[in-house]
């Protein structure tokens, strides 16, 4: 097409200007893509890491448990429920947990702690805790316990010592278990290390007279970022007095900080795009002024305004294409090694906080369709608007004035 040729060659009439404009587009595309791919790459691991501390991707709880977690508010027949859940295709793992507050005592020392009963063979598929045992072993004996490192230090207990855990059973009477410490775990999260004890569920359920009950039925699914997909299939299995909560409800701080991060980054990208688009609009207006007589001549020889506008749009499109190619080229160079090797938290001086902020050790930037398209499309829209702005002149200026126009 000759008009595409004209548009393409017009770009190179002012090589420097075209390169600067395309460079601005590339610059914005590069920055937005880098930023977004890091965001995209960090949210999912953040959810994965944080949910594996304790909450899981989803939980089934009795309706009133989250408001006021009392020991008698449990889901019964949890083993049967677990079996039914596991039969669903979207579900990877299910673990039932009993949870109560207990007074952990060793000799004369006692501290309050969250006592969690788990099925030792099943729970490691939903939680990292078994891997974080730094001394001793995970729950291997039916009468064993693992405790947080700070709690162990405070109680002055070590692997092999017997501890006594006092709590109240479903009737409100005092119950106790006396397991042997088989392991000490260190999660890096102060609160957990200071106040968490895990014991086999059977042990604590017997003491609390819970039978096969569980306070939380923890579920891991295929795609935690898209909980709606699995929720539909799980819903029919949820007992009538219980409800299904996803990680957004279980760990609102995580989902809210992700949302906040998205919003604040959106503002940054938006401002960047507006500045770049305004620079481009300015360039287009300048170009339009310079080429007034050329457009007058084109109209005089019979070209319609709409065709001239079309030619101008083609130039815009080609410039956009060039800029996006520059941006993609640079971001591919930058992202390719990062995607393969990741960025270590240690290189950002964040390794010591990774545990507390629920961040993984390495972040691998992730590129999805959104990351690829958002910047080019929004800048593209801006460029089309700029073209329209610059072309107002085309329609306003009379032909005679255009032909007589002196720069």
């Amino acid at each position: 097409m000759l008009s595409v040729t004209v548009a393409w060659r017009n770009l190179w009439r002012n090589r420097r200007r075209t390169l600067l404009t395309a460079g601005a587009v590339g610059f914005a595309v590069l920055l937005v893509q880098l930023g977004m791919s890091f965001q995209a790459g960090s949210y999912e691991p953040m959810v994965e890491v944080s949910t594996r501390f304790s909450s899981g991707h989803m939980q089934i709880q009795r309706d009133d448990y989250s408001d006021d977690p009392r020991v008698e508010r449990f889901v019964s027949d949890s083993t049967k429920l677990r079996g039914e859940l596991l039969a669903l295709p979207a579900i990877n793992a299910v673990s039932s947990r009993t949870e109560t507050f207990g007074l952990v005592t060793k000799d004369e020392r006692s501290y309050g702690a969250l006592v969690v009963g788990v099925d030792p063979l099943v729970d490691p598929s939903t939680s990292h805790l078994s891997e974080q045992v730094s001394r001793g072993t995970y729950l291997e004996d039916p009468n064993s316990a693992i405790i947080g490192s700070a709690l162990a230090r405070n109680l002055r207990v070590d692997v092999g010592d017997e501890i006594v855990i006092l709590c109240s059973d479903v009737d409100g009477s005092v119950a106790f278990v006396a397991p042997t410490v088989s392991g000490v775990f260190e999660t890096g999260n102060d609160t957990l290390d200071r106040s968490l004890v895990q014991v086999p569920r059977e042990l604590i359920n017997d003491a609390l007279m819970l039978g096969d009950g569980a306070h939380r039925v923890v579920i891991m699914v295929d795609q935690p970022m898209l909980p709606d997909r699995s929720q539909g299939t799980i819903a029919p299995l949820v007992p009538p007095t219980a409800s299904l909560l996803d990680w957004r409800e279980l760990m609102p701080e995580i989902s809210q900080s992700i949302r906040l991060d998205k919003i604040s980054n959106g503002i940054v990208y938006g401002t960047l795009t507006v500045i770049v688009v305004l620079s481009i609009a300015n360039t287009f207006v300048m170009t339009m002024f310079e080429r007034t007589r050329e457009f007058g001549m084109l109209r005089a020889v019979g070209m319609r305004n709409s065709s001239i506008f079309g030619m101008f749009l083609t130039e815009t499109f080609l410039m956009w294409l060039l800029g996006v190619a520059i941006g993609y080229g640079l971001s591919t160079c930058a992202l390719f090694p990062l995607i393969n090797f990741g960025v270590g938290m240690d290189s950002m001086g964040m390794d010591q906080f990774a545990g507390l902020l629920f961040l993984p050790d390495r972040i691998y930037p992730a590129v999805d369709l959104k990351v690829i398209l958002v910047a080019p499309i929004s800048i593209g829209i801006g460029m089309v608007l700029s073209t329209m702005l610059a072309s107002i002149r085309l329609y306003r200026l009379s032909l005679v004035d255009a032909l007589r126009y002196q720069e």
């Binding site: 097409m1 000759l2 008009s3 040729t5 004209v6 060659r9 017009n10 190179w12 009439r13 007589r293 050329e294 001549m297 084109l298 109209r299 005089a300 020889v301 019979g302 070209m303 319609r304 305004n305 709409s306 065709s307 009379s398 032909l399 005679v400 032909l403």
Partner: protein
Amino acid sequence: MTDAVVQLKDVTRVYGQGNVAVHALQEVTVEIYRGEFVCVVGPSGCGKSTMLHLIGGLDSPTSGTVTLEDQDLSTYSNNELSDLRLKRMGFVFQAFNLIPVLSASENVEFILQLQGVEPKDRKARALEVLDSVGLADAANRRPGELSGGQQQRVAVARALVGSPLLLIADEPSANLDSTTTRELCELLQTINREHRTTILIATHDSVVMSYSTRTIQLEDGKIRQADAA
């Protein structure tokens, strides 16, 4: 039904308003017939360009009517006027005639493309018409690489390629020396004779005038003297 290609009837064109109003043309009535080679002459600012612009549909009169082949131009929409210029007229200006990024033949082809000519026919027709203005050798050069006279010949070639009824030229010789001007005029005369293309030129160059079949003299927007057709 008359033989006139172009008819101006009581045409007045006023630019601006009130005290600063400029009467570029005042009640001009003129007819131009098929096959004529007409020069509009007069000093700068006498209304020559305005008259050409009105005839070319680039501008519209404040009062009076401009008709092309008995069609009143004021009844045409902007797009219809564009099509009219594309298919029925050819334009040659003093300067800035060509699309600077296209070669001579591409400049001609561009018009053919606008006219909707099949791609395969374009190249041949463009070369043919360039050959007819004596520029077959320069077909692949860009306007920047051509002399002023060559550029004007390309402009003429482009104006001719659609076989127009009317060729309008506004001071085509202003940037040319007298030898080149003669060559250009001879080219225009040949076209006028061979194709019976009506030619209308605004000029104050006596060389150009000497080729005309008729001159219309304008002064202060009024016809001072017109030869009989």
